[in-house]
Symmetry: C2
Subunit: 419 residues, 2 copies
């Protein structure tokens, strides 16, 4: 299957490179090779970190019969709309990450596409497969509500404001320096980017056709340190939330800063990460969390769509692979597992015991990270310790040696530490 990539910027370059670098697993999952045949750019002279062939002749790519899928990653609204129309007219499947385009033209595009595949997973919450979840995973449900944290810029800023007490202007400048916010940040901090994504989810959940102009959109520009203090005092976090909710026959669609109780799972989505909580009438709450932006994370969703298109007609293979995979992978023997360990040893509370234990652990290359000793009664104590990364075999042998050496007076407990 041949793919033409219109726009080889942040996301487009990642799409081309991942199709190259992860070719083996992608081929095994798709059941055919997916070739990034050509990329279209504005400026052929710009230096780019890609190996894909480039052109600035868009029409040639749109009219090339050997291209099966057009991936639109140029941004904008009316220009990509015209381009995608042509691609569909030429019978090409389309994949896009363009939420602005979909916020305005999703229903026209659905009509134009008809039976031709048109996919857009990356347009909402970047790498998180939330469209997949809503459109395929939760289809048995009437959706009661969706609450999303879908703008990384806002979430980064609000998290810093609440966790570190930094004020709005300072953190905006920092976000701009780190590349998390644009020179003109209005599109993000004003809630418009999040609103575009909300409208897409609103359509999938409720079938409702609404434009950004129609809904309540408020940005985070007026959040002050007093508000942050109030939130902290009453155990709330502040998030720019996108909300879609069904109340009788009316649908609420709104984007605004919100106070959320700290015990809710979605309140724990911090920094540049995105999260979407969906409540279905049968499944209850499910939540989806991950990177909402960035070249590779967004490209992950774009490529998932391309693979979907390759699988059209037969669906996903039962166990995930169209052609055998994993033949050269084998199960790691239990004793070779490497992780950190927590150990609890019951010992006599007397001199020399600790030294003996440390010596035995050391002889097996197990180094201690933290340790506390707690008296149990007049003669006994517990030694609780965590190790640096060690091998299962060494830990089991060390514990056996410790037991045989008679330094412990009860059964030793071991819990693995995963960090």
């Amino acid at each position: 299957m041949k793919v033409g990539i219109i726009g080889v910027g942040t996301v487009g370059a990642s799409v081309a490179n991942i199709l190259r670098d992860n070719k083996d697993i992608i081929t095994a999952r798709a059941g055919c090779e997916i070739e990034p045949a050509i990329g279209v750019v504005n400026n052929l002279n710009k230096k780019r970190d890609v190996t894909i062939e480039l052109t600035d002749d868009l029409e040639k790519v749109l009219n090339d019969d050997s291209i099966d899928v057009i991936v639109e990653l140029m941004g904008g609204i009316e220009r990509p709309y015209e381009i995608i129309k042509k691609a569909l007219a030429n019978g090409k499947a389309v994949v896009t990450a363009n939420k602005a385009l979909l916020a305005y033209h999703r229903y026209e595009l659905q009509d134009l596409a008809g039976d031709t595949p048109f996919e857009y997973e990356a347009s909402v919450a970047g790498g998180i497969p939330i469209i997949n979840a809503l459109r395929d995973g939760l289809t048995a449900n009437n959706i009661l509500s969706i609450r999303g944290i879908m703008n990384g810029t806002c979430n980064y800023m609000l998290t810093k404001m609440i966790n570190e007490g930094i004020d709005y202007d300072t953190i905006l400048k920092e976000a701009q320096e780190l590349g998390y916010a644009e020179a003109d940040p209005t599109f993000d901090v004003g809630g418009f980017d999040a609103a575009h994504k909300l409208l897409i989810l609103g359509s999938i959940a409720y079938g409702i056709d609404v434009k950004p102009e129609d809904i309540l959109i408020e940005g985070i520009q007026n959040i002050s340190s007093e508000d942050i203090d109030f939130a902290k005092e009453f155990n709330y976090s502040i998030k720019l939330l996108t909300i879609a909710k069904k109340v009788d026959n009316e649908i609420e669609l709104r984007v605004h800063p919100s106070l959320i109780p700290n015990h809710e799972m979605i309140s724990k989505v911090d920094g540049v990460m995105n999260g979407v909580s969906v409540i279905g009438d049968k499944v209850g709450e499910t939540m989806y969390y991950g990177a909402g932006a960035g070249g590779d994370a967004t490209a992950s969703a774009v490529i998932a769509n391309i693979i979907d298109i390759a699988r059209r007609g037969k669906g996903a293979p039962m166990l995930g692979f169209e052609t055998p995979h994993g033949k050269n992978l084998k199960l790691m023997p239990k004793e070779n597992i490497r992780t950190k360990y927590y150990l609890r040893l019951r010992v006599e509370d007397k001199a020399g015991v600790l030294a003996k234990i440390a010596t035995i652990l050391g002889s097996k290359n197990i180094s201690i990270e933290k340790m506390i000793q707690k008296p149990l009664n007049r003669t006994c104590a517990h030694i609780l310790l965590s190790t640096h990364t060690s091998t299962e075999k060494d830990v089991i042998e060390a514990l056996k040696t410790i037991e045989e050496a008679g330094v412990v007076t009860g059964k030793t407990a071991m819990i693995r530490i995963e960090d």
Copy 2:
């Protein structure tokens, strides 16, 4: 499309009832009616809360040419294996929630199914569409690791132990009384149920064929209060984790209690809830959270699979609906939105101001939930308050009246509260 349900117990009854109760949205999403035609049970005399026709004649259902999909929800291993073989031989699509069956026979079943749809979303983490995510949403990635909290019984018990200091035996008894644990709890607390689910995810991520006997499985039975204390002291939570991880050409598959740092998203999955964190080489970490068991939540996943089967050949419709939906839904006007509000008012610090504000709010039916007053300087103060659920229109009018009445000395801030 006609569905035969083998086993009308907790999950089977929910499948039959949801197909009836949510028929409208399911039809719009699937593009055809999905009829729960018949249910097969052991004991026809048992009282059940279903309206579906019942039989105890399994063979008749398997041989009924009008049945398109067989849904296996009886449990067990060899018996459902034989039944599903027959269903596939008769050309029927199959959906199951049976993780034990798949832990042992998933590759044979894949071979037997061939091009006939065989789906099993509900077998792992109940209502969370994790198989969907891994098999369709993250396909561009080499999976680096999967860490799952996939047994609600264990997670309920461990959460209570760590949050409330209850000991293992007491909490096990409570879980049994609440119906979260079986009379013989070994299958859950011993880690075997979680291991079955892990093997399924291990296959989708790595294509590796392994049986439960081959992997490291340790239960939560030996967690003591000293371990809980250590975890708390060093900012860990304790979870029964299922881990699949790729290290060079070896795959780690293991189930055991684990200490996880409290800052990790997955450590926040508490109580009976399930959560699965997946790290892909391109997308980074994504996390999936929701109900891992219960009739309706599990049935949500079973029915999603049935709808998938109805859509075979054409894939999911672009915006989620095969036939128009949402025609009778309309956008709620902004002013009718109802939620709670936080207000920050800058006032003169003198008697009577608070009374005036409370009176104006009261005249608009806005009642105050919490309030604090903070002096700003010698003459001014901030009143910070939250309201009970109110209407956007009333709040905006009240704020206007307050401003016009001259009780505030600066711009009033308003943030909506979502709980």
